[in-house]
């Protein structure tokens, strides 16, 4: 067992820290959030140049041979800076799913340019009624000559407006909530019959509602096998969850650091408020929560490449439960200890709090993953 970072991984960490320090000061972030895209192409180009877009892919796929630990390192720093560039939807979800399930042609056409920074992706899985159930899909794909025709609706699709290609989870067979009979399609972001309603999210990201009205795709648009998309999307989402957990640990570190600084400097009753035991203990609980979050994230990052899908699923759900719990505790505590300042838009604290809250809701909240973990553990 060895839990230390390699020299290359340490360099990557320093590089990511430097990026956040240079490009993601709080006011700079506010400006980026207010741009039309909601992220900066020059930052994306820098990610490509630094090799971050390819770091977690194998050399055969044109990457640099890293894995989930590299993703964890970078995502954690992104969490510290509340970075807005669509790394999660494009690289972790889209790129990851194509790398694991894509054909040779798909990898050449999509993955290679993504690593160069020339293509972005989005994953459209959620529908109005589906809540956190990945199998609750009613968007229909029907055979149309050699290809397929897609009709239906997808919701809260992060990065859809910037995505060159949208990976769509569609029903090709089976009933509404059945895992069998789901197929993934890679659809051009500008396909005919695809319309978008774009909006910002609570945490300053961008997402869209998508309507598919007889969107035609070729047979080569299928990612993986027809009717067997569920396992692919479940695995892809589990990996995204682990990356998201890493982002959350970065958020927690940052929000805890800001709070610690505040209670050391804010004076009431003639002393820094950090002198009051009730706040000291709460701050200690924040620190402990962040430690637990980091531990579960690391464990999940180390298990997410396991051959056994149950091991992977339990690792992702276990970490997500912890992140939900710790994120809520650190977020709420930070706001409380900042007093009125904590609920203003002016300080970064509320922005970390909002991001941590949204992370809990993404891909299933604490309760959802507790149930999922429990079911998996009971079945073993």
């Amino acid at each position: 067992m060895d839990l230390s970072l390699s020299d290359e991984q340490k360099q990557l960490q320093e590089q990511a820290e430097r990026f956040v320090r240079d490009k993601y000061a709080f006011d700079a972030r506010r400006k980026i959030a207010a741009t039309e895209r909601g992220w900066l192409p020059e930052n994306w180009a820098q990610f490509a140049e630094l090799g971050w877009l390819g770091m977690s892919f194998s050399e055969e796929d044109g990457g640099y041979g890293g894995g989930p630990i590299e993703t964890m390192i970078v995502m954690e720093q992104f969490g510290k800076g509340l970075v807005l560039e669509p790394f999660l939807p494009t690289v972790v979800l889209g790129g990851g799913m194509i790398a694991r399930s894509g054909s040779k042609a798909q990898k050449e056409a999509l993955l290679a340019p993504m690593i160069e920074g020339k293509k972005q992706f989005a994953l459209a899985w959620l529908e109005r009624q589906s809540r956190y159930n990945l199998a609750d899909v009613s968007l229909k794909a029907t055979k149309e000559g050699a290809g397929w025709s897609l009709s239906g609706h997808k919701g809260v699709v992060y990065n859809a407006a910037s995505a060159d290609h949208i990976i769509v989870l569609a029903r090709t067979a089976g009933s509404a909530r059945e895992p069998k009979g789901l197929t993934l399609f890679i659809v051009d972001g500008k396909a005919k019959g695809l319309s978008r309603r774009d909006y910002p999210t609570q945490d300053a990201l961008r997402a869209s509602e998508l309507t598919f009205d007889k969107v035609s795709v070729g047979a080569d648009a299928v990612l993986g096998k027809v009717d067997e998309g569920f396992a692919v999307v479940e695995d892809g989402v589990d990996r995204a969850i682990v990356a998201l957990c890493a982002e959350a640990t970065g958020c927690m570190d940052a929000i805890n650091a800001a709070t610690l600084e505040y209670i050391k400097t804010r004076k009431q009753f003639g002393v820094p408020i950090g002198k009051f035991q009730v706040l000291q203990h709460r701050m200690v609980d924040c620190f402990t929560n962040a430690q637990e979050a980091r531990s579960m994230t690391l464990m999940a990052s180390l298990k997410i490449d396991d051959k056994d899908p149950v091991v992977r699923a339990k690792a992702a759900s276990g970490a997500k439960v912890q992140i939900g719990k710790s994120g809520k505790f650190c977020g709420q505590s930070a706001v409380q200890m900042h007093g009125g300042m904590g609920v203003t838009d002016e300080l970064s604290v509320s922005h970390y709090f909002k991001r941590l809250t949204m992370i809990d809701l993404m891909f299933g909240n604490q309760q959802h993953h507790l149930t999922r973990y429990s079911n998996l553990a009971m079945a073993a």
């Binding site: 109005r128 999210t201 203003t344």
Partner: protein, 392 residues
């Protein structure tokens, strides 16, 4: 002892309900149930209607123009209005400064200020907190120096709710810098139109504008606007805070919240059966809080003042409001993510991205974090209880 209502109380509740249905604008009511923010008119039009009925100052004794209701009437009044979707009565006039004026003010002040408060013709805001005086309120620095018939006031107040709508502000100011912190404070009424008063908005984490900084720069205030004696304002301040802590638990709104929660959670129950029990748990907390509040009110009805134990009501009341907001967001799930400020703050034709109840869910959860901070933070309330009630 009896929990059941007498026939005359049932008739009273019907009268209140009837009044609300006739006088509350459908647009305002709709905002309550859709979680939109109220604008100034929503509040003022409704409060003036209550004022004309003689019900706005419903906690006041008859002597000062109130209806002189007992505990049961007040309880019914608040609950029926909440059920009917009425906006909460902005407390700064009728709940806060009004009672201070009729308790500590002179006859001339009562005549001058109480009618405008009762009718909601005049809007009030509260000048308590300062950048350096939050939890440690007695540390306030806003200075009032007497010059003949006037005080010259300099300083900054903050977290001032509705200062941008306010006609008048009641302020705690320091009139003696030599005395112990609490002893050099006075309670002063300031016309917001006086030269030197500037209001700067503070935008909250959900994008809402309700609170403000208020800057006081050489503001000339007549000595006639001093309530009580100079340097004895802390007595008024404490009296007001005890009243504030009682109403701030927002029990009727939380009861309505539990009902709304059950309605919106139906969709999520299929995937999360634990939601039903989480709602039941907060429902029971609301009942415990309501009964505790009623017990406190009936003690007051027998002539007692609200004691320091009301702090526990404020603590629990804020936790409950936060929990309800949290569960509402949880019930919505990922559709809580779209941010639609237009739907929260403006009258637009925008349609919700997700379910109808989704747009306010997350902003409300964020915003409700303030309830354990304002009106004396949870930490301060617990200090009060441990010291004043438990003698620790």
């Amino acid at each position: 002892m009896d929990l059941a209502l007498k026939p005359e109380h049932k008739a009273f509740a019907d009268e209140v309900r009837d009044f609300a249905r006739k006088n509350l604008s459908p647009a305002t009511r709709e905002k309550t149930f859709s979680g939109k923010h109220f604008d100034r008119d929503d509040h003022v039009v409704w409060q003036q209607a209550l004022g004309r009925q003689g019900w706005l100052a419903y906690t006041w004794p008859k002597k000062y123009g109130g209806p002189g209701w007992g505990v049961t009437e007040r309880f019914l009044f608040e609950n029926v209005l909440a059920e009917e979707g009425a906006p909460r009565i902005i407390p700064f006039g009728v709940k806060m400064v009004g009672p201070v004026i009729y308790t500590f003010g002179n006859d001339e002040q009562k005549e001058r200020f109480l009618p405008g408060i009762r009718s909601s013709e005049v809007s009030w805001c509260q000048g308590y907190s300062e950048p350096g005086a939050g939890s440690d309120l007695a540390n306030l620095r806003t200075r009032a120096v007497r010059e003949g018939d006037h005080y010259i006031v300099n300083g900054q107040k903050t977290w001032t709710s509705y200062a941008h709508w306010g006609d008048w502000i009641f302020c705690l100011v320091r009139t003696n810098t030599e005395a112990k912190a609490q002893e050099g404070i006075s309670f002063l009424l300031i016309d917001m139109k006086t030269p030197g008063v500037t209001v700067r908005p503070i935008i909250m984490l959900d994008g809402a504008h309700a609170v403000n900084d208020v800057f006081l720069d050489n503001v000339k205030v007549p000595v006639a606007n001093l309530i009580g004696k100079e340097n004895e304002g802390w007595t008024c301040a404490k009296f007001l805070l005890a009243n504030e802590r009682l109403g701030i638990a927002e029990v009727p709104a939380s009861k309505r919240g539990v009902g709304m929660l059950r309605a919106i959670a139906t969709d999520s129950l299929r995937d999360d059966p634990s939601m039903a029990e989480k709602i039941a748990d907060v429902d029971l907390q609301v009942q415990a809080l309501e009964m505790s509040e009623l017990r406190a009110l009936s003690t007051m009805a027998l002539g007692g003042a609200p004691g320091p134990e009301v702090s526990t009501l404020k603590v629990r009341g804020s936790e409950i409001q936060q929990r309800i907001a949290e569960l509402a967001m949880e019930a919505v799930g990922e559709y809580a993510a779209p941010y639609q400020p237009g739907m929260l703050f403006h009258d637009t034709n925008e349609t919700p991205v997700g379910p109808d109840h989704a747009p306010p869910a997350a902003p409300r959860y964020f915003n409700m974090r303030k309830t354990s901070i304002y009106g004396g933070s949870t930490e301060i309330q617990k200090n009060i209880v441990s010291k004043m009630v438990l003698g620790l």
